[in-house]
Amino acid sequence: MKIFIKRISLFLLLFILLLVGIFYINNGTLRIDFEKFKDNIFFKKVEYFSDFIDKDDSINLILGSSIMRESIIPDSLGTKWFSFTNSSQNIYESYKFIDYYKDSVKIDTIILGIQPFDFPYSYVNSPVFQFNGSFHIFGRDSITILGENTLLRNLEALKQQNYLYIETLINKINNLIQDNNVNDSTRFKKDVWTRQGFSGRNVYIQPVDLDSLFLINPKSFDLHLKYFVNIKSPSNTLYFDLFESLTNLLGIKVIYLITPKSKYYHLGMKEEKYDKIWNDILDSLETKPIEIWDYEHINTDTFDFHYYYNETHTTLQGAKKFTTMIRKRLYETSE
């Protein structure tokens, strides 16, 4: 028994040393910094939003994921607009947000960006899904608590960042060989740039030549894969209906917006046969009495390549152009 315990302890010790070594090589330090995993942007936005609703009797909102965050500059739409858009924010989280603030402020109009991951079969039973995870502060339930255990989430994030999966390891080696990274956003400090909630990372991320990147490393164009986890036909509009019924009840005008996407996103969708699923979702939405503004296929003529920094996220130049289009349409429809 003694030898057994001794050898296991020795193995564990050496293994831990190996893990520590890998951590040191990756970070240049042994200090564990959980702060970098905290969604500071989110909490800053909550703070800004509290100030914002104190100023006016009624407001307008832009909601959605990072795609929406990058696509519309709220300040350019007017002083009543606030962008509560966050990384991977899904429709259920937007619903929780509205539900939380429904008695605190009158909301006139919402522009909600919709993406495939707003129509999953289940958020709870999916091992990988798109969610922001910080929305439990607006109410705990079986979905929002998934992001609540911050210590485990931080540890998982730390682990994933430092100790790579087989596929990621191989992809990383491939990328090293090909000397290619789509972009390196971690070098820059992220922030909420305006008091109206604009936090687009396109402020510091430069446009890239998607054509060349695709030729070198088509596998790095994989956002469509992430957006369609647990999404299938026929579509599940349960979470959408939840949002719609709440906003109807509150008398809020909602514009469901589908943002522009690059041709490589569409190509990826087509290859994976996701286009059919997405079309089914759109077909099912068309049967509802709602307002949808669909700009997804705009890229071919008016929306050039330098308006994107990856398959789905627009550059600052793209955001300016798109916000102008939205502003114009809002103006036209309000007349």
Binding site: M1, I3, F4, I8, F11, F15, L18, L19, Y121, P127, V128, L146, N149, L152, R153, L155, E156, K159, Y163, L164, Y165, I166, E167, I170, F228, V229, N230, K232, S233, E271, E272, K273, Y274, K276, I277
Partner: protein, 476 residues
Amino acid sequence: MLFNSLEYFLFLPIVFFLYWFVFKKDFKLQNLLILISSYVFYGWWDWRFLSLIFLSTVIDYFVGLKIHDSQDNKVKKTYLWVSILFNLGLLGVFKYFNFFIDSWIHLLGSFGYEQKSVWTLNVILPIGISFYTFQTMSYSLDIYYNKLKPTKDFISFASFVSFFPQLIAGPIERASNLLPQILSKRVFKYKQGVQGLRLILWGMFKKVVIADSLGIRVDKIFENYQSMDGSVLLLGLVYFSFQIYCDFSGYSDIAIGTAKLFGIELMSNFKFPYFSRDIGEFWRRWHISLSSWFRDYLYIPLGGSKGGKWMSIKNIFIIFIVSGFWHGANWTFILWGLTHALLYIPLFLIGKNRQYTTNVVAENNWFPSIKELFQMGMTFLSTTIAWVFFRSESIFDSFNYMILMVSKFSIPNNERSGILFVVILVVFDWTMRKNERNPFNYKFKYFRHLVYVFVSYLIFAHFQLINLSQFIYFQF
């Protein structure tokens, strides 16, 4: 509690320490510790269902004693039926009730009798119920057939029923193998301990690295099969073959390995089934504890192969269909069992169903011969096609899946990344194929240690601290 959870990594060393250092002197105290640990282990999921295990334990404990004490065969038989009806009754209520009601309504509907209100049970399936009910039934059956004497030690019997390593997903142990070990003093053996750890490491690798990685791909393909290319559907099936194998055999390996740490030997459940050369060999290597259970307690009592060819064929159909039905209350599982019966019977009819009973493929060679490769390929292909029934939501989906797989076939452009996991698994399995109970038993010490580190690293990297995935066989 899941084997692939953080809780288990804390739970196991604590129980191990108490078992060997605190309660070492008295095996009855060790049994009490096993019993408490097992109830904690199961109750971690849902403590309310502990009552079912307890009830099953109490019934079979007394039934066992009564069968043994009774001199009258009729009385013995009556007590045996008490055990069988109770255990199958549990399964019937919790697992099959709604299926029978739905099927009955469907049948009536097809004759034009529409049922307006349907009474079904709103219950969840207690995990592992099919495993522990079969285990306790085997106790009463073994006593009835005079293979075993009952124990009067209730605590030890209860720890046999609920022994945590194999409680939830097997191997389904026989009382004649496990109970004598529980009723005698255990001694820690270094070699056994090392083998146990190796099995845990290997099982964890199969589950966390291979099965879970393939599972994501399988879910995606099966959920959207109507819009996928035929080649991707084929890949989906191949991935599922390996997912279910790694998931289930991974669980068994962790169970056997954990038991070894406590000085207990459980029976083997998987012996590299995808290296089988025909379907007969496959069934001697796949879920051995269940297939041998059905052989001993169903096939043989039904007459086995002694009543002539037609009787044998009938019995083969019965055990394959029952085996399918054991897996789940759905027609898809029954069809899966039926498919295997149809694959097995031709082999039986030409008398070649038992030609590979002892040796493993290419036993003394590095590589298989062309013939062996062909045989393995054909067996794998047959079992893989049969998996479509097992994985699909309905029979319609199963056939539709296969039709689309053939009619839309092309060279796969996507979803190929899962092949990497299949290759890694096959290479490891091939090098270890001679002994399923002692993986990583490589001659060269440094190479072996390097493999330990490599495998441990991948488990660590793929291990999920949040959103843990369950083992597939928990649902059966």
